[in-house]
Amino acid sequence: MNKRNILIVDDEKNIVMSLSDFLEADYNCYKAYNVDEAIQIMTDSPVDVVISDVRMPGKTGFDLIRWLKENKPKVKTIMMTAYGSDSVKRAIRKEGAIFYFEKPIDYSEIKNIIEHIFSPRGFTADLSGMDLIDMLQILGFSGKDCTVTVRNRLGESGKVFLKNSVLLNAETDFNTGLDAFYDIIKWESGSFSVSALEGDVNPEISFSLEHLLLEISRIRDESEREYETAKEKAVAGDYTDFFKEMKDNLEECTALYVKKGKIGSVIVSLVDDQKYAIESAIKDYNLDKSSKIKLDEILMTLENSYIIIQQLNSIDVIITAIFKKPCNIGLKYLTISKYKPLVEGMIK
């Protein structure tokens, strides 16, 4: 079978040489040290995938992507940069690269992505080392008609339906349409598989996937800013404001309790609905009473609600959050996990 052709473009010669050495057992590798050389090679030779640095003297990786869009639209592009940030990432996506890596680069990951690009069949992947948005973007650019089934680490699942770079619909156990899509995108760990597009999909969304992914990058930035605000409050030791902020970010949280474990004193008790006021039970709740097994976290699924209990053993603090059903509990779990180090830093 003929080998596929890869072009590696970077002004750092050692990266071009070492990446080429790594890939050449499986692919024909062309080498270029600036954009003009890269364009010359692509004019003369068939290239399937370009792996390019962003910043190079003279023309940049963005110039190369724009040239490719106009002259070689079928060529897929993977970008590398030593100057990674959300804005650079957004700019790279906007220009149309299907994937980007921050230097120093794990060559095995690049190889995995190339294999995915050339893979004609379905695949499964572990989300812990990969961003779902990036993978959706690959699928969007490939124009593939497919169903992406995503499972988070709590076993909840969702589906994203793509047709010719358009998001037709999405569904989780609780939502359909855009709400479901945003829920799935927020899952930070889990696994996913890609299969043929299911035949009976209702095109409830029908938006350009590219447009939606850009919107999601913006939402993620906003969420990061909210988290930073909470962090400032945590550093200032402002317990109540900090936990109010946390509860607001949790949405659908009807009660949030934080208590010092052994003493049993409730540090914060925020309850929306007295129906969920279980402060006395939480105060007495003692997970350490009997054994050497130290619990880190509990997720209780009740008929009408969910309860997440996170035990911060290092500071002897227990966070309990109650959520009214239905809600995306996987998302809540991840949000609380994100706040844990801040709480640990604040309450010592």
Partner: protein, 117 residues
């Protein structure tokens, strides 16, 4: 619980360490634990009893009923599924990195089989 059902749980749940039953009275039946020297039943049983009784307290305040509980310690993941017909619970004990998705499916299958008998 019948031996064949426990065999089924062990054959279908990769990495599973133990299976228990918690009766409505809070009595715990240990069905099987692999490598009891390493995973000591004497530590598991009071721990599970405590977990279930504390959970019941919260549920009674909330006037709600538990469907299932996932509890993670530094070494283990416990999946406690309520078998509603008689109020007892099935406990699957997995290593921390065990596949909780598979465990949930198996537990549901077992609970359904128990209900249908």
């Amino acid at each position: 619980m019948k031996e064949e059902l426990i065999n089924q749980i062990f054959s279908e749940t990769e990495g599973i360490i133990g299976v228990f039953e918690i009766l409505p009275s809070n009595t715990i039946n240990k069905f099987r634990i692999l490598d009891e020297k390493k995973h000591k039943p004497a530590e598991m049983l009071p721990f599970l009893q405590n977990l279930v009784s504390e959970t019941k307290k919260i549920c009674s305040v909330l006037k709600d009923k538990p469907t299932d509980i996932i509890a993670n310690s530094s070494d283990y993941t416990f999946l406690i599924t309520t078998i509603k017909t008689d109020g007892s619970s099935l406990v699957l004990m997995l290593p921390k990195e065990g596949n909780i998705d598979v465990a949930k499916v198996i537990a549901k299958k077992v609970v359904d089989q128990c209900k249908s008998k």
